[in-house]
C-alpha cells in the first residue's frame, strides 16, 4: 500500500507536466507581440511602393482578391468564386459578403473597382501598374459582382491577384489622385488594423475583431526597425523583442545545433535564388561547349555549404525540386571528366574568365568557391566584384563574361523563363541579361503566354526547361532561405517560402504567446 502511494506520488509530476503540455498547445488569446524588422515603413499608401518589407508590413492590414495555399494553389479570399469567359478575356468575380473594412463599412464591388482604377492611373505611381497592365477595364455588375476585361489572354492573371503587390482592396475614394500621399493608412480588410506609426521608433497594429476570416490571437503587434542583423538577434536574446526577421545564418546554425537555447525558428525556404548566368552574345561564352563545361564543373552542394552554412537547398532548375514547375528532364551534372571533355571541344586555351558579382552579397564567398572548383579542370577565373549600380549597368550593356545573379521566388514559370526570350538590342538589355536568343525557344514561350490550361502549360514548360538546360545560358545553383527567430514562448507562427509576415496560410495572426 505504502509502495503504491510512493509510486503514485512519483508519477504525479510526470502527469502534471503532461497536463500542462496539453493546456499549452491550446492557443491563448491576448498579449503584444514585438517583431523587429530590418527596414521601416516608408509610406502609408497601400498601393504605392509595395516592395519587400513594405509589402510584408502591409499584409497585416490589406488583402488581395485571392489567396495561395502552402503548395501554391489559388484559393478564394475576398473573392469567393470566379468565372472565366470562353475567350479567356473576361473574369467575373463574386465577392465575399459581409467583409468589413477596419472602419466598419462593408466591402463592395465599387471598392475593388476603385483599387484597380487607382492602380491603372499612371499619375499615381502604383507598384502594380505593370502587373495590371493587361486589364482593359473593371465594371461593377452588382454590389458583390465585378467584371474585369483583359486586353488579351493572360495565364498569370489569377496568380497576380493573389499578391498585394498588384493591388489590395481599399475603400472607394480613400486615396487622392497623384503624388500627394495620405497622412494615414486607409482602412483595410486584414486581420490587423493600423494604430500608429512613430517614424524611427515603432509601428503599432491592433487585432481586428470583425475580421471575416480566422481572427488574430494576439491583441497587438508592434514592429520596430533594427537595421543591423547582429543587433537584431542580440535584442531578441536580451528579450527586447519577441520575434525577428532575417536572422543571420551563423546564428541559425547555432540554434539548429542546439548551442543557443530558448529560441525557435521559422524558415522561408526560397526567399532568394542564386544562379550563374553567361553573356551569350559575346566571346568567350557565345561558345555553348564552354558553358556546358562550366555547368559540369560546378559542385552546388559545396557552394551552398560554404556560403550559406549548409542551410540552403540546391536546384539545377529555376524552380525548387518540390515545385510543380520542376521537371524531370536531362540536366548537366557535376562531372569533372565531362567538363574536361567539353573544355577540349570548346577549344579553351587557358584564358582568364571574369566572374562578376555584386558587392555586399555573398558573391565574394560563392565566387571564391567557384574559382577553386573551376581551377580543378584548369579554368582560370578572376573575380570582379562591383557595386550594385555599376554591376547593373554592366549587365544592361552586356559588359561581362559570366556573373552570379540573384533572383526571386517566382510564382509562375512564365516570368522566370521570359528572362531568356530574345530582346532587340544586346547593348541595351532589359529582362534578358544573358542576351540568349533562340527562335525555337521564343516560339515555345509565345505559346506559353497564351495557354491557360494547367496541364498544357506544364507540357510546354517542360520543353522550355529542357531547352534552357541544353543551351545553358544559365546554371541554377539553388535557393537561399531566410529565417525568422523567436523566443520559445511564441507559438504558432509560420511563414511561406518567400518569408512573408502574414501570408494567406497564416503568420502573425496565427501566432500566440504562451506565458
Amino acid at each position: 500500500m505504502k509502495r503504491l502511494l510512493v509510486l503514485i506520488l512519483l508519477l504525479i509530476p510526470f502527469f502534471w507536466e503532461r497536463l500542462g503540455e496539453g493546456a499549452s498547445n491550446q492557443p491563448k488569446r491576448g498579449g503584444t507581440l514585438t517583431l523587429a524588422v530590418s527596414k521601416e515603413l516608408a509610406l502609408m499608401n497601400p498601393l504605392v511602393n509595395t516592395s519587400s518589407t513594405e509589402s510584408r508590413i502591409r499584409e497585416l492590414m490589406f488583402e488581395p482578391l485571392l489567396g495561395k495555399d502552402a503548395r501554391g494553389a489559388i484559393k478564394p479570399r475576398l473573392a469567393e468564386s470566379w468565372e472565366i469567359s470562353k475567350d479567356g478575356k473576361v473574369y467575373t468575380f463574386r465577392l465575399r459578403k459581409g467583409v468589413k473594412f477596419h472602419d466598419g463599412r462593408e466591402m463592395t464591388a465599387d471598392d475593388v473597382k476603385f483599387a484597380i482604377d487607382y492602380t491603372l492611373n499612371p499619375k499615381n505611381g502604383a507598384y502594380g501598374f505593370a502587373d495590371m497592365e493587361a486589364v482593359d477595364k473593371a465594371e461593377v455588375a452588382d454590389k458583390y459582382t465585378l467584371k474585369v476585361s483583359l486586353k488579351k489572354i493572360n495565364p498569370l492573371f489569377l496568380t497576380l491577384l493573389t499578391d498585394i503587390r498588384a493591388f489590395s482592396v481599399v475603400p472607394k475614394e480613400s486615396l487622392p489622385e497623384g503624388m500627394r500621399k495620405p497622412a494615414s493608412f486607409p482602412p483595410g480588410t486584414g486581420p490587423f488594423k493600423f494604430v500608429e506609426w512613430k517614424p524611427g521608433q515603432r509601428v503599432v497594429f491592433e487585432r481586428f475583431a470583425d475580421y471575416w476570416g480566422e481572427k488574430a490571437f494576439v491583441d497587438r503587434v508592434v514592429m520596430r526597425e533594427i537595421a543591423d542583423a547582429t543587433v537584431r538577434f542580440t535584442a531578441l536574446q536580451a528579450g527586447d523583442v519577441d520575434i525577428i526577421e532575417r536572422t543571420p545564418y551563423e546564428w541559425v546554425q547555432q540554434i539548429v545545433q542546439g548551442k543557443i537555447k530558448d529560441i525557435g525558428y521559422a524558415t522561408a525556404k526560397q526567399a532568394g535564388a542564386r544562379n550563374l548566368e553567361f553573356n551569350v552574345a559575346d566571346p568567350p561564352f557565345n561558345n555553348k561547349k564552354l558553358r556546358l563545361a562550366i555547368a559540369h564543373a560546378i559542385d552546388r552542394k559545396e557552394i551552398i555549404q560554404a556560403a550559406y552554412f549548409g542551410l540552403a537547398e540546391t536546384s539545377d532548375q529555376r524552380f525548387p525540386k518540390d515545385s510543380i514547375w520542376y521537371f524531370d528532364v536531362p540536366a548537366p551534372k557535376y562531372d569533372l571528366n565531362k567538363a574536361k571533355a567539353y573544355l577540349k571541344e570548346a577549344g579553351y586555351k587557358g584564358e582568364t574568365l571574369e566572374l562578376m558579382g555584386n558587392r555586399g552579397e555573398v558573391a565574394e564567398v560563392e565566387g571564391a568557391i567557384i574559382q577553386a572548383q573551376l581551377k580543378k579542370v584548369g579554368v582560370k577565373v578572376e573575380l570582379k566584384i562591383l557595386e550594385r549600380a555599376s554591376a547593373l549597368e554592366a549587365r544592361r550593356q552586356g559588359k561581362y563574361m559570366f556573373k552570379l545573379a540573384g533572383g526571386s521566388d517566382y510564382p509562375d514559370p512564365l516570368p522566370a523563363y521570359s528572362e531568356y526570350s530574345c530582346e532587340p538590342d544586346p547593348k541595351d538589355r532589359h529582362l534578358n541579361e544573358t542576351a540568349y536568343c533562340d527562335k525555337e525557344y521564343d516560339a515555345l514561350m509565345k505559346r506559353a503566354e497564351l495557354e491557360v490550361d494547367l496541364e498544357k502549360r506544364k507540357a510546354l514548360f517542360k520543353q522550355v526547361v529542357a531547352k534552357v538546360l541544353d543551351d545553358s545560358p544559365v546554371v541554377a545553383i539553388g535557393f537561399t532561405p531566410r529565417f525568422f527567430t523567436f523566443r520559445s514562448y511564441v507559438k504558432g507562427f509560420a511563414t511561406n517560402s518567400a518569408g512573408d509576415f502574414q501570408p494567406f496560410i497564416g503568420g502573425l495572426s496565427r501566432a500566440w504567446i504562451d506565458k
Binding site: N45, P122, K123, G200, Q201, E225, S390
Partner: protein, 321 residues
C-alpha cells in the same frame, strides 16, 4: 559690438550654405540610382516593372525631366522660402521629417556631452596634477584606447554586456525625456557612453596638456606661494585658463554629435537625424539627404559662432573683431 559681430558672422554663413547646397545637390546626383524607381519602391533590378509611359509621367511630376541647373534653382528658391520639398519615398515634407527626428539627436548629443565632460575634465585635471604617476598613466591609457577603438565595436560590446549578459539595460529603442525621463535614461545610457567616450578620449589629453602648461605658469606659482588652498589654485586658476583651448575641441565635437551619429543611431535604433541621413542615402532620397546635410552644415557654423562668443566670455582679453 557683439551684435554687429554676430550679424557679420551670420552674413558670412550665406556663401558657405550656397556652396554646401551646391555640393550636396550635385553629389547625390553622381551616386548611381534612380529617384523615380525610389519613389515607386522599385528595386533597380526590377526596372521592368515600370512602363516607359508611367516613368515619364512620374519623372515629370517630381521635376527630374528639367535641366539640372533649373532643378537646382527651383530647389534653392523653395528653400529660401522655407520649403525643403517632399521626401521621395515617404512623400512627406522634409521640414516635418527633420524636425520630427531632430529632438532625439539633440537629447542624445546633450547626454553624450555630459558624459564626455564628466569623464574628461576630472581625468585630465587629475592626470596633470599627478603627472607621471599610475593615475596619469591610467588616464592616458584610457584616452589612447578611446581614440583608437571603433565606436560600433564598443557599442556592440556594451550591448552584449549590459543587455544580454546582465540584462540591466535595453539594447535598442527610444523614449522622449519629456514623456518618460527614466525610460529615456535607460535607453540613452549605452549610446551616450559610447559617444561620450569618443568625446572624452581626445578631450582628456587636451585638458591634461593645457593644465600642465598652466601649472607651470608664474601666476599659478604665485597662487601656491601665497598659500591658496590647492583646490582654489587648480580649479579657479589653472583649470579655467586650460578650458579655453578645450572649448574648441568640445565645440567641434558637439557639432559632430548634433550632426547625428550615423553609426551609433543605426545600431541602437535611435530615431535621430543621423539614421535619417543614412536611410536617405541608401534609398537615394535626394531631398532628405540635401535637407539633412544642409541642417548639419548650419549646425556646424552656428556652433563655431557660439564657441567664438564663449571664448570672449572665458577670456576677456580676446577681441572678436
Amino acid at each position: 559690438m557683439l551684435a554687429r559681430y554676430v550679424v557679420r558672422r551670420i552674413l558670412q554663413l550665406i556663401p558657405v550654405l550656397v556652396l554646401v547646397s551646391l555640393a550636396v545637390f550635385l553629389l547625390v546626383r553622381v551616386i548611381p540610382g534612380d529617384p523615380v524607381l525610389v519613389m515607386m519602391g522599385i528595386d533597380q533590378d526590377e526596372r521592368a516593372r515600370i512602363t516607359p509611359e508611367q516613368y515619364r509621367v512620374l519623372q515629370h511630376q517630381i521635376g527630374l525631366d528639367r535641366p539640372i541647373y533649373v532643378q537646382y534653382l527651383n530647389w534653392a528658391d523653395k528653400i529660401v522660402h522655407g520649403d525643403f520639398g517632399l521626401s521621395l519615398a515617404t512623400r512627406r515634407p522634409i521640414v516635418e521629417i527633420i524636425f520630427e527626428r531632430y529632438p532625439a539627436t539633440l537629447y542624445l548629443a546633450a547626454t553624450a556631452l555630459l558624459v564626455g565632460l564628466a569623464i574628461a575634465i576630472p581625468a585630465g585635471v587629475i592626470a596633470a596634477v599627478k603627472q607621471n604617476t599610475k593615475i596619469d598613466y591610467a588616464a592616458m591609457g584610457f584616452a589612447l584606447w578611446g581614440v583608437a577603438m571603433p565606436d560600433f565595436w564598443l557599442a556592440l560590446m556594451l550591448i552584449v554586456l549590459f543587455s544580454l549578459k546582465l540584462g540591466w539595460l535595453p539594447s535598442i529603442g527610444y523614449a522622449s525625456p519629456f514623456d518618460n525621463a527614466g525610460l529615456f535614461l535607460q535607453h540613452a545610457c549605452l549610446p551616450a557612453i559610447v559617444m561620450g567616450t569618443e568625446l572624452a578620449a581626445p578631450l582628456t589629453r587636451y585638458v591634461r596638456a593645457e593644465m600642465l602648461d598652466q601649472l607651470r605658469q608664474d601666476y599659478v606659482r604665485t597662487a601656491w606661494a601665497k598659500g591658496l588652498p590647492s583646490r582654489m589654485v587648480i580649479v579657479k586658476h589653472a583649470l579655467r585658463n586650460s578650458l579655453i583651448a578645450a572649448v574648441t575641441v568640445v565645440g567641434l565635437q558637439t557639432a559632430r554629435l548634433l550632426g547625428g551619429a550615423t553609426i551609433i543611431e543605426t545600431i541602437f535604433s535611435w530615431p535621430g537625424v543621423g539614421r535619417l541621413l543614412i536611410d536617405g542615402i541608401y534609398q537615394r532620397d535626394y531631398p532628405i539627404v540635401q535637407g539633412a546635410v544642409l541642417l548639419i552644415a548650419v549646425t556646424y557654423v552656428f556652433i563655431n559662432l557660439i564657441v567664438d562668443i564663449f571664448y570672449k566670455w572665458l577670456d576677456p582679453r580676446i577681441k572678436l573683431e
